[in-house]
């Protein structure tokens, strides 16, 4: 707490230029200390308790998913290994093997085939987070390319691309996802790509609008006069100004990508058994809802908490990076 308050003072001092009457050591320090855009955004962000708490939550979730092999060794239950003696045991049960006398504990219980739910939750998290992150990266790339090309070149190309975006936006997302994934039967990376094929439309509209205004700025004209190519104007002069917008939009659209993966896998068109994902764990739970609520609750809460953390963190990021973008 003390550390953050000294930092706050520092920032305040910098703002107060009138304190310095002549070019002294203090002013030179101030110039040296003059923080950049992202440093200042980070200082704003870390005053936001909710955002920091959700960031920590998110880091813990990612660590849990990355530690899946460790959890597997620790519990001694590989994620696909079945143990009928442990089938449908409630969380925390110790299962004893009468042949060897060995006992193992199922911390979150076991599913219908006796697979350890804790281990599957960690591996499922890996798959779900991987699909969502890849989908986000793909959709940012497609959205940025289409949006900036449409906005920058304008004219017929712009109208053609934007009519295409309108068209895609009129098909309910999940419908199009189903059509593609039902027939291509993609793996996690393919699934991410399929989700991205839909997710880029909003991004491209936003980027297009922003590029339309950026391309009329004087520094862009100056670059053009100096003989810069279209490619280098877009990547060196326009893209850097869009980074904060892209970060904010991406962080706010990540939860919906996680929910898309979950819905698709739940319907049986996403990640397929025996590979676990949070969505297909919910699918398995459908047959077991009369047995116990934990089968539904555990993967469902995993999705909810992850989406919630990203949403809250994204809100904090938006306020820190770009206060213009209020919802």
């Amino acid at each position: 707490m003390a550390k953050s308050s000294t930092l706050t003072n520092l920032v305040d001092e910098q703002e107060d230029v009138t304190k310095y009457t002549s070019l002294g050591a203090a002013q030179r320090d101030r110039l040296k200390e003059n923080p950049g855009f992202y440093t200042r955004a980070w200082r704003r962000l870390r005053k936001d308790k909710v955002a920091i708490a959700s960031m920590i939550g998110l880091i813990l979730i990612v660590i849990f998913a990355l530690a899946a092999p460790l959890i597997e060794t620790w519990t001694g239950h590989p994620y696909t290994s079945t143990n009928l003696r442990a089938a449908l045991v409630p969380p925390g049960t110790v299962v004893v093997d009468p042949a060897t006398g060995e006992s193992t504990r199922y911390w979150l219980g076991a599913d219908g085939a006796g697979r350890d739910i804790l281990v599957r939750l960690a591996y499922g998290g890996r798959v779900s987070l991987k699909v969502a992150t890849l989908a986000l990266i793909f959709s940012v790339i497609i959205g940025f390319t289409v949006g900036s090309v449409a906005g920058y070149f304008g004219g017929l190309l712009d109208s053609a691309l934007m009519r295409f975006v309108d068209m895609l936006m009129c098909i309910p997302g999940i419908t199009l996802l189903l059509i593609i994934s039902v027939m291509m039967r993609p793996g996690p990376t393919g699934l991410a790509f399929v989700i991205a094929l839909l997710g880029w439309t909003g991004m491209s509209r936003l980027i297009r609008g922003e590029v339309l205004s950026l391309k009329r700025r004087d520094y862009v004209d100056a670059a053009r006069v100096l003989g810069a190519s279209d490619h280098s104007i877009i990547t060196k002069h326009i893209l850097p100004n869009l980074i904060s917008l892209i970060i904010v939009y991406a962080s706010l659209s990540l939860p919906s990508l996680i929910l898309y993966e979950a819905s698709l896998s739940y319907l049986g068109f996403g990640v397929r058994m025996p590979d676990p994902s949070w969505g297909n764990m919910l699918n398995e739970a459908r047959q077991l809802f009369r047995k116990s609520w934990t089968f539904t609750f555990i993967p469902g809460m995993a999705i909810l908490v992850t989406a919630l953390c990203i949403n809250l963190f994204g809100n904090g990021l938006r306020d820190a990076l770009d206060p213009r973008l209020k919802e």
Binding site: C170, I171, I179, I180, L267, L282, F289
Partner: protein
């Protein structure tokens, strides 16, 4: 006004043609066909499969089939199901009322709750009410529909039954043994409608609260207050109307999400509607039924957007439509 509507309606034609072409191409360019299920069967000769394909018209290239489909669809003939020869129009007309009975009440409920809650939250900013509703809105906004639906089934369907409390049916559109009267159907709709409403309600409440906060800080609201108008008439007459304008567009744009959500909800509750029909059709590469479902959703979405634009023009005198 009339001219604007006509112009927009004409503009819908190329849009819908484009959508139908993209979807048809997608369905036909990826592997899998209505006859794939026979190829594994050793009792069916390749010549039989060829005959079935010819009968269904599947031996033509897909773009030829698209134009045949389009021509027939424009005449009102949506073809037959590749699986059982049932007429596609009949399949659609039997499933559509169920989907509409699910989604229309849920839109109405969402709006009816989201507007007062969002407006009150903005007017009494940082009050207990505002904090509690914001927390709930944020949580429900992050909740997967599937999870919400399944937990409702477990709590109100299974646990309430165990505890001997009045419980709700866990699946279906009506009770198959002697049910089917309006009351029975409404009871079966309660959980699906609430599930579908909660998620969109959460997003809309947040949106309305932000809009309202923005509007009540505008100069004209301060002017209205300072010239001595009653608080109530300032809020209702000046702030509320302007805060609601973007809401019209938002609802129009949310229509695809609502039908997407309905598809999931139908699956969770085993509720037979367009979503279920579509999922089944896609599982068996039943193109004719799947096409009809996609186009049904697309037409609703396009019309929703159009109505939102028209309403916006009617409500906001600054927008000139023609």
């Amino acid at each position: 006004m009339a001219r604007y509507i006509i112009r927009r309606l004409i503009g819908l034609i190329p849009l819908l043609l484009g959508i139908s072409f993209i979807v048809y191409a997608l369905m036909n360019l990826v592997p899998g066909s209505p006859t794939s299920q026979f190829e594994m069967n050793p009792n069916i000769k390749p010549s039989d499969i060829a005959r079935i394909q010819e009968n269904l018209g599947l031996n033509e290239p897909w773009y030829t089939r698209y134009f045949i489909w389009l021509g027939n669809a424009l005449k009102g003939d949506l073809g037959i199901s590749y699986l059982n020869g049932q007429s596609v129009s009949r399949i659609i007309t039997s499933a559509m009322p169920n989907t509409l009975a699910l989604s229309i009440p849920s839109i109405i409920i969402s709006v009816a709750f989201a507007i007062p809650v969002g407006v009150l939250g903005a007017l009494k900013r940082n009050s207990l009410f505002d904090r509690v509703t914001t927390i709930f809105a944020t949580i429900f906004y992050s909740t997967p529909t599937v999870f919400l639906g399944m937990m409702m089934i477990i709590i109100f369907g299974v646990k309430f039954q165990e505890w001997g409390l009045p419980n709700l049916p866990v699946a279906g559109t009506h009770n198959l043994r002697g049910g089917g009267d309006p009351w029975d159907r409404i009871v079966h709709l309660i959980m699906p409608v609430v599930t579908l409403s909660l998620v969109s309600l959460a997003g809309w409440t947040r949106y309305i609260r932000t809009q309202m906060l923005e509007v009540i800080n505008q100069d004209y609201v301060r002017t209205a207050q300072s010239k001595g108008l009653k608080y109530r008439s300032v809020v209702m007459g000046h702030a509320f109307k302007n805060a609601m304008l973007p809401m019209v567009t938002l609802i129009g744009l949310s229509i695809p999400d609502i039908f997407g959500g309905a598809l999931i909800v139908e699956n969770v509750f085993g509720y037979r509607g367009m979503g279920q029909v579509q999922v089944e059709a896609l599982q068996f590469s039943n193109y004719s039924v799947a096409m009809a479902c996609v186009m049904f959703f697309a037409i609703l979405t396009v019309l929703g957007n159009l109505i939102a634009d028209i309403l916006y023009g009617v409500l906001d005198p600054r927008v000139r439509l023609d």
